[in-house]
Symmetry: C2
Subunit: 348 residues, 2 copies
């Protein structure tokens, strides 16, 4: 009987998550897959900022993790037992395997990875980054507010992460001018040199708002919001009339006690934001990628070949060993990572 290691939520974090907020359990599992399900040996696990949000209590778009619950997340692995005629042991699949070695998943919720053709050559971690939930998130967010037009200025935060880098690359392919916001000189260089942004601004610099304004001489037409806090405050005065703002995430606030507004820039009241919405006729639209699964096949059809051919690039920061997952998530929230954070589960 295999032993399953799994990370569960031990308690709700206060601020940055610490090792003691998690507990690693070892439990025996049966090794069988009941009818309609598949048992998957996880190989790669995606770590994403929304996971920190699920560790908090309170109303959100997905239920919070319960205390003692195994943390969830997209994974890639091999089927080792199947209770479904569409899957057989050895199949490589992706699904919501979570922070553990083995996952028993409903067969209808997993998807087989490409086994042949150009797509089979794409590395597994990339399927969790620009071709995983984060890349799909970028693609959906842009489609909801109107694909950028040639000559428009598109700004995105966390620009070397898998969502931000995908937003920048998709926008650039439409002929837009793309401006990255990232933390530190190294990430700014990466944004320009690896992902092809036209400009990259370090949000940690004292003169960040001025530098951002200089990088957007024609204002901002589309801001892909995944940060909030001081970044939103710097972006707000730069909007052109009719600018569009897909609201994808607010990572600056995820370590806060909900509603405390600790990471809020001074003067950033709801009234100040609403005033710009009115005066500049802004469109803001919050979205959650899981509402848009019906469009996933179209995303894959359009984007996967561009990743295979190198037109769209990924970048993954692969962390060795499931044991490292809690610290890797904390690092991701601090911005320590370089690209998409993926845990290679086996490599202890």
């Amino acid at each position: 009987m295999p032993i399953n290691r799994r990370w569960v939520l031990a308690r709700r974090p206060q601020g940055e998550p610490s090792r003691d907020d998690f507990r690693l359990e070892r439990v025996e599992i049966s090794g069988d897959a009941p009818q309609g399900s598949v048992l998957v040996r996880n190989r790669y696990l995606s770590l994403d900022p929304y996971m920190r949000l699920r560790m908090n209590e309170g109303r959100s778009y997905v239920p919070p993790y319960r205390i003692g619950e195994t943390l969830g997340g997209q994974s890639i692995g091999e089927v080792i037992a199947s209770g479904d005629p569409d899957f057989a042991p050895g199949d490589v699949v992706t699904g919501s395997g979570g922070w553990q070695d083995y996952a028993l998943l409903p067969a209808r919720t997993v998807r087989r990875m490409p086994q042949q053709g150009n797509l089979a050559a794409i590395a597994m971690p990339t399927w969790l980054g620009v071709l995983g939930m984060p890349g799909f998130t970028a693609w959906i967010g842009l489609s909801l507010v109107g694909t950028p037009r040639a000559g428009e200025t598109v700004v995105v935060g966390a620009a070397t992460g898998p969502v931000g880098s995908m937003v920048g690359q998709l926008a650039r392919l439409t002929g837009a001018r793309t401006v990255a916001i990232a933390g530190g000189a190294q990430k700014c260089a990466l944004a320009r040199n690896h992902f092809g942004f036209d400009a990259a601004i370090d949000h940690r610099a004292d003169d960040f708002p001025q530098k951002l304004a200089q990088a957007c001489p024609n204002g901002i037409d589309l801001y892909f919001e995944n940060i909030g806090g001081p970044v939103l405050a710097a972006v707000l005065p730069l909007f052109n009339d009719f600018a569009r703002i897909p609201v994808c995430g607010l990572i600056a606030h995820y370590n806060e006690t909900i509603g405390s507004g600790e990471a809020q820039a001074p003067g950033m009241t709801a009234a100040a934001l609403m005033r710009e919405v009115l005066v500049r006729r802004l469109s803001l639209r919050g979205f959650i990628v899981s509402d848009h699964q019906a469009e996933h096949a179209r995303f894959m059809e359009e984007v996967a070949p561009q990743v295979a051919s190198g037109v769209i690039k990924g970048l993954e920061d692969v962390i060795a060993g499931l044991e490292q997952a809690p610290e890797a998530l904390a690092g991701l929230l601090r911005g320590d990572n370089r690209g998409k954070v993926v845990v290679a589960i086996d490599d202890t």
Copy 2:
């Protein structure tokens, strides 16, 4: 040579506008209309909250009034001299006549009032209310975010004003449940009995947020924002997933020093607002009616017959005499009015 009385901006108000912020000038005018223009004797002047916003300095969607400039606004009057073949003396027209007895207007900017048929029976002040800019504003705002669907809950503030009452009536015609927010018991009764709202809540009551929640047992699907401040704070926790919010105005903030957020409810940070946008997948869309003139004919075609037949009701608070305009505007911002504020210019 006729004498034109005109109200000009004497200085920028601090807070509520006072009599000394305005100056009444008397100037001789020529009585002629150069080619392409019409000289109009104003009879009715529309007073609207946006005028207070234009008295402030600073970036907005229309340029601020200059010191010494005659205040603008929609009016109805008679052509007394015409330099355009399409207009003749005696024609009754509407245009941007402003706070004065006589206006020289480009002929292409004025529109003749209906002279015959059902529409000719509609009272002049109504053409400045539900059939004027405010009514068109309500209609455009709803069209931009999707007309309410049967069974949805629609909430609107300043609900006995010409915008709010039109929003409620248009929404009710689609089968939505309509909830009015208004100031005081009398206006709440008016909202229910005259305008047909399903419920009306007094925002001045201590338990306003609780009462609003009780009036929206199925949450809020569409909130037409024309208030801001504490009303937005009370509405925010009640949104259903995918709720839509046309952002039309922020009257609670118009008497503030821009950006001071004096009327801001406690805890209403931009972050708190953005969190709901994300979690509830809200769509906010700021708009200005003047961007949508191309749709004006369609509005008239659809709505004017419904006003003529009494299906859609107006309500006007007619103030006698141009001299009263400054105090009437201050009263409008305090919510003293009952319905659409129109100044009858002659009746001193």
